[in-house]
Symmetry: C2
Subunit: 119 residues, 2 copies
């Protein structure tokens, strides 16, 4: 079972967290690669990254791609998210958990910005 | 003269701000719609939004699209950026300054996430 976990920073503003949850639903509906798509938050919202990873594993995940919904390669992307992943990876050495590059690292961001500038 | 101003939050981490500046260079190089493309930061980095707008106007900008490089529609996007724009719009009523929807509002984000998950 191949799964995707979108990880956002999390906000004190509930609407921002709900935006991430809605985006997750859209990705779940539109994708063909993953049997399950969930989201998690680094802080300020639930579920946490370890909780979401454990939930996916309990549902049968054998492979989990963790995708940081972040625009820049700060400490959160470089240190905090890998640390959270590592906690669960040690508990479940048989599960492949891979961190994909953060959203802002995508070359497609340029096109998206240009399209957005015309809206 | 048609111009684009990318607005990022700004970070204490210089590398994050430089990432935005590099992205701005790529957009400047790749786009066909804008005669000038610059970036500005809401806080923690330079130039500020008013300074960048005034600089574009001094260079002859008649139309400026302000595009928030943000993933969620928080207070920054809904209140702070419009407020900063308004300061300069009042000084230069003949210049059209329009705020485009923030990056995270783009329907293309879903595809980008799915592509990124395969990298």
């Amino acid at each position: 079972m191949n799964t995707l976990l979108l990880v956002a920073h999390g906000s004190r503003r509930a609407a921002s967290n709900d935006e991430v949850r809605e985006l997750t639903e859209t990705v779940r509906r539109d994708n063909r690669d993953f049997d399950a798509v969930e989201c998690a938050f680094l802080e300020l919202a639930e579920p946490s990254i370890p909780d979401a990873l454990r939930m996916l594993i309990a549902r049968g995940a054998e492979r989990i791609v963790v995708l940081p919904y972040f625009l820049s390669a700060g400490r959160h992307v470089a240190e905090d998210i890998p640390h959270e992943i590592d906690i669960v990876a040690r508990e479940h050495p048989g599960v492949e958990i891979r961190q994909a590059p953060y959203l802002g690292a995508s070359p497609g961001v340029v096109d998206l910005l240009l399209k957005q500038s015309a809206r």
